[in-house]
């Protein structure tokens, strides 16, 4: 069972938070760089004791089945679920979005997630690598469109009532698909803001960790 998000989470302001990046597999370095540019201290997280030292966590892009298997083998799934349940801010990009979903489609047999976000996410929904693409997406709260990079990306098939939809694909065959969501302290995007040099998503998340947003 994925953990339920408490109705109300108490957050105290923290001006210099330490944001962990889950470093089991994936584009960890890119997230670390943008987080540091956004005013956070960073920490790579592979073990429960490292997770304990993080005020917030980014689950990077990568292969979600590999991340799940390693998280399972190295006893990280339960600690991750507990922190999510306790209200730690977590941002997931691409594979990280899959890891935050309560329900997934087109996963491998037995694939588990950390969960917490009341959504159904379809893995590799946009197709294979030859279908990977870049496009502008309007994100709620951002003045200008965000140039988004989608790589064998998932999309959000459906969301629960508690989830705010922040962005959708605007043109092309997948127009209308949900690709950015927030529920309480959990934020997820199908795309990879860590690859484009536009730090707005990470700054927004760091503000969440600081208790400002």
């Amino acid at each position: 069972m994925p953990p339920a998000i408490p109705e109300k989470v108490t957050v105290t302001a923290n001006p210099t938070p330490t944001v962990g990046v889950l470093a089991l597999q994936g584009d960890v370095r890119e997230h670390v760089r943008v987080l540091e540019d956004s005013g956070a201290r960073t920490l790579t997280v592979r073990r429960p004791d490292e997770l304990e030292r993080a005020d917030g966590l980014v689950i990077p892009g990568g292969e979600s089945t590999t991340m799940w298997r390693l998280a399972r083998s190295f006893d990280m799934l339960e600690p991750l679920r507990k922190r999510v349940e306790a209200g730690m801010p977590v941002y997931g990009s691409c594979a990280g979005m899959i890891m935050l979903a309560d329900t997934i489609l087109d996963g491998v047999d037995g694939q588990e997630t950390v969960g917490g976000l009341a959504m159904t996410v379809r893995r590799n929904a946009f197709g294979r690598q030859v279908d990977s693409f870049e496009a502008d997406v309007r994100i709620d709260g951002f003045a200008d469109p965000f140039h988004a990079v989608f790589i064998r990306a998932p999309w959000v098939e459906s969301v629960g009532e508690a989830v705010d939809v922040l962005g959708r694909v605007e043109t092309g065959p997948a127009a209308g698909r949900i690709v950015a969501v927030r529920q309480g302290q959990l934020l997820a995007t199908s795309f990879h803001p860590e690859l484009t040099g536009d730090a707005r998503v990470h700054r927004f998340f760091v503000d969440m960790v600081k208790g400002l947003s």
Partner: protein, 298 residues
């Protein structure tokens, strides 16, 4: 309203795909069953080919792109990315692989080269390419041709890591040297490396390649994989090392864990226990020049 239309096949989505494989293991497989074993073990991708390099060595003859039916079978069997090999310079094999929907093309010295002067113009494709290199100049020439990912060549199919070590150390040393040169010296370095000066300047500025660097060629044990990671590889290709060993499923999983925890000897020791027979391997002194693959490509 945004007017931008979705753009596929950009350098960013090609290189970005390789970023998503970092810290992971890509495994050679020759059947859908092997692909499933690799996926279950935690591989980030599989490399579909007809014969693993060890068998290509044994059988001899011309080694070519795999049968499309076999690639289709592997694509159908797993949900992780599927790569496949084309011969060096064989742009039509690459076109076929792109049409089949493979996620990455390996323009590989393991197959028999199809062109003695030209590599494939990789910019012309939507599908991204990974290419082998033995040193920085070779890596940058491949990147100039459009490669979105580089791997060490090593000496495939030998189970002997010594050449991969040599190539990883060489690339690392070449990069380190560039970071210590001034602007005027970089022009000379570009000439010596036989690489475009813009790429040489970029490497000097970044202190690394502008694309992801994996290791390949002779990795057979969890400790081999971890050593390559400590030498600066961002991930690992394992060819014959898994399915030519006694217990492929267990060894595959052990190599995945050792790659993630490459700096933790306790984990590497733990996963190295009870793996059964490693592939026998070949000492390189016993290979004649024409049996060495690393010299293919330039």
């Amino acid at each position: 309203m945004s007017t931008s239309t979705p753009e596929t096949g950009t350098a960013r989505v090609k290189r970005g795909m390789a970023d998503m494989l970092k810290g992971g293991v890509i495994m050679d497989v020759v059947t859908p069953e092997q692909a499933k074993i690799a996926e279950d073990a935690g591989a980030v991708a599989v490399m579909a080919l007809e014969r693993v390099p060890a068998d290509i060595r044994k059988d001899g003859g011309v080694a070519r792109m795999s049968d499309p039916d076999m690639i289709d079978g592997i694509i159908a069997a797993v949900s992780i990315p599927v790569m496949a090999k084309a011969r060096i310079g064989h742009f039509v094999e690459a076109q076929v692989l792109q049409a089949l929907g493979v996620d990455y093309v390996d323009e590989s010295e393991v197959l028999t080269p199809a062109d003695e002067a030209h590599h494939v113009d990789k910019w012309a494709f939507t599908v991204p390419f990974v290419c082998g290199a033995t040193n920085l100049g070779e890596a940058l020439r491949r990147i100039a041709e459009g490669a979105a990912m580089i791997r060490s060549k090593g000496e495939a199919g030998t189970g002997n890591v010594v050449e991969a070590t040599r190539h990883m150390r060489q690339i690392r040393a070449d990069i380190k040297r560039l970071t210590q040169l001034d602007e005027a010296e970089l022009f000379v370095a570009a000439k010596e490396l036989r690489a475009p000066v813009e790429l040489v300047q970029e490497v000097a500025r970044l202190g690394r390649l502008p694309v992801v660097l994996f290791t390949a060629g002779g990795i057979a044990t969890p400790a081999d994989a971890a050593m390559m990671m400590q030498l600066g590889a961002e991930g690992v290709f394992v060819g014959s090392g898994i399915f030519k060993s006694g217990d492929p499923a267990k060894r595959a999983e052990a190599i995945v864990k050792a790659t993630t925890f490459h700096d933790d000897a306790d984990v590497i020791a733990k996963v190295s226990r009870g793996l059964g027979e490693a592939m026998v391997g070949i000492n390189l002194e016993t290979l004649s020049e024409d049996q060495r693959y690393a010299g293919r490509g330039w």
